[in-house]
Amino acid sequence: MRVLLVEDDPLLGDGLRAGLAQEGYTVDWVKDGRAAQLAMETESYKIIVLDLGLPRVSGLDLLTQLRREGNEIPVLILTARDTVADRVKGLDAGADDYLIKPFDLGELSARIRALTRRRTGRAAPVLHHGDVALDPAAHLVTLKGTPVELSPREFAVLQELLENAGTVLSRARLEQSLYGWNEEVESNAVEVHVHHLRKKLGANLITTIRGVGYMVEKDKSS
C-alpha cells in the first residue's frame, strides 16, 4: 500500500519512512507542500500522512486545496499544536484523523489501517475471501484458519487485490503500490509474487486477465 508522507523535518521523516516500511507500507517522502502536490499528480496513493507545519505551502492549505479539487484521499495530519481549536481547524479543513506529536508508531499504523479500511467501504479490519483471511493489523494471512507464511511484498499484493476485489488491477498499478520512488522495480516481480501466492493459497484465488492484469473475484460468501 502506497503512502505519501509529507514531513519537513529530516529526522522525523526518516523515522516515519523506516517505521512505515517496517509495517509493510510503501512510502514516498516529500518535504514540502509543493512537492506533495507534484507527487499526487504523478502517483496514486492510498493515504497521505501530512505534517501541518510545512514550509512553502502549509499543510492546512494543501489539505483545503485537495478537498476543493474533490480529491477524497484519506488524510491523516500530524501536528505539534494540541489546542482544541487547532485540531478542529485541521479536521474542518478535511482531515480524516490527526495525531499529536510525539506519537506512537503503532498507533499511527493502526490509524492508517482504519482510514484505508473505511475508504474501501469495510468496517471490519480483516479481509475475507473464501477460505483466505487477511488481517492487516497483525500482518497475518490464514488459509482455513492456518497461518500462511508470506513475504511483505506478497502480503501487499494480496491485500491490494483483496481490497479491490472484483476490479482488475494492472501490473503497473500493483507495481506502483509495491515500490517507492527510490526503489528499483524488478522485472516480472509482480508475476513472481502472484505465482508464489497461488502456490501458497491455491491456484483459483487470483485470476489472470491476459494483457490487462490480475483480479480477485468478488467474494460471494461475504
Binding site: L11, L12, G19, K31, D32, L78, A80, P102, F103
Partner: protein, 447 residues
Amino acid sequence: MNRHARGFSLRGRLLVLLLSAMALLWTATAFMSYFAARHEVDELFDAHLAQSADVLMAQVESDISAVAGEVQEEEHHQYQQRLAFQVWGHNGNLLLRSASAPLTPLSEFASGYSDSTIEGSRWRVFSRWDREHEQQVQVAQSYQIREELAGVIAQRLLLPLLVGLPLLGVLIWISVKRGLQPLHAISEQVQQRAAQNLAPIDYAQIPDEVRPLAGSINDLLRRLQDAFEIERRFTADAAHELRTPLAALKTQAQVAMRAGDDEARRQALGQVVSSVNRATHLVQQLLTLSRIEAGMARIGEQQVDMAQVAADVVGEIAPQAVAKQVEIELVKGAQGIVRGDAVLLRTLLRNLVDNAVRYTPAGGSVTVTVREEDGAVIVQVSDTGIGIAVEERERVFDRFYRVLGTNQSGSGLGLSIVKRIAEIHGAEVRLDSGIGNNGLAVTVRFS
C-alpha cells in the same frame, strides 16, 4: 501595603499649606485693618479736638474772668483724664486749665496740630489764637486713647482667627479627604485586580489631575502586556518546537526496537542519537535566547578583541568543517576592539560560523573577516552555501523560521540570537549574497 510607609501625606501637606496661607492672610488683614482704623480714628479725634478748641474759644471770648482758674471737673468718663485744655493770655499767663492739664503749655504757642510728650506720655495738641491774637487755646488728647481704640478693633478682627483656624483645619481635613476620594478609588481599583489583569485603568472616573499618572500607568501596563504576550507566545512556540524532535526521537526508537536486522537497528539508533543531539541543541538555543531576552545575561562592558574571538570560534568549528570538507578561513584586517560582553559576542559569532558551515555543501568554503571601516568594526561571515532568497532575508530573523530545502535540522533560533545580541551591542546585521554571488554573507557592523 502600608500607607504610612510612604514619604508624606498629601492630606497633611494640603492641611498645613492651606492653614498657613489662611493664617497669613488673616493676620495681614488684621494689620491692615488696624492701620486703617488708626487713620480714621486720628481724623475723627483731630476733628473733635479742633471743634473742642472752637467751643472753648467761644466761651473764653465771651467771658474769660468768669471761668478763670482751674476747672474742677466731675468724673464722667474714663477718658476724661486723658483730655486736657489750657487757655493762655497773650503775655503768657495761664488763664484757665483743666484738672488734667499741666501748668506748662501743652505745646508751643502756635496754630494747628502738634504732638508733644508730657509726663512720659504722648499727646495730640490743637492750638489756636483768638481773633485779636490775645488768647491762646490749647486742647490736648492722649494718644493712648487712639491706640487703645485701634487696638480693640484689630483684636476683634484677630479673635475669630484663633477660634476659626482650628475649625478651618477640621473643615480642610474633611474636604481634602472627600476631594481625594477619586484617587482612593483608583488605588482600590488597581489593588483589587488579579495579577493577570493588565487591562488599562478606566479613564471615565479619573479626575484631570491624576490623568497623567493614570496615563503613565496604562502605558506601563500596555508594555507589560506586550512583554507577557511575547513571553507567552515564546513559551508556546518553544514547547511546540520541542514536540517535533521528540516525535522523531520516539519514532526512531520504535524503528530501532522493531528492526529485523542489526544494520537497520544500528542505523535507527544513530538517528535516535541525532534526534537527542538536535533536541539538546534546541534547548541550548532556547536557553540562550531566553537569557538574552530576559536581560538576565549580564551585559559586560569589556574591551573585546573581535579578531581574537573570531580566531577562537573558527578554531572551535574547524573540525566540523574539515569533516564536512568545507574550507574555512579567517581574514584579520584589523584588531577590531568592540565594547561589550565577550560571552555574548562569542555566541553571536559561533552561531554565524556554525550556520555557514552547516549550510555549505562539501567542497565549499566559509570566510570569516574582521576589519575596520570608518571607525566601525565589521565582522563578516560569508559562504558558498545555499544562501537565503532575498524575499526570505527579513523573515529568517524571526524565531523558529527555517529556510526550506536544506535537509538541515537547525533550531530556527540561530539568527534570532544573532540579531538580539547585535541589538544589545548597538550593531547592525545585514544579509547579502556570499562569495561569488553564491551563498550568504552576514555582516555585523559595530559602530
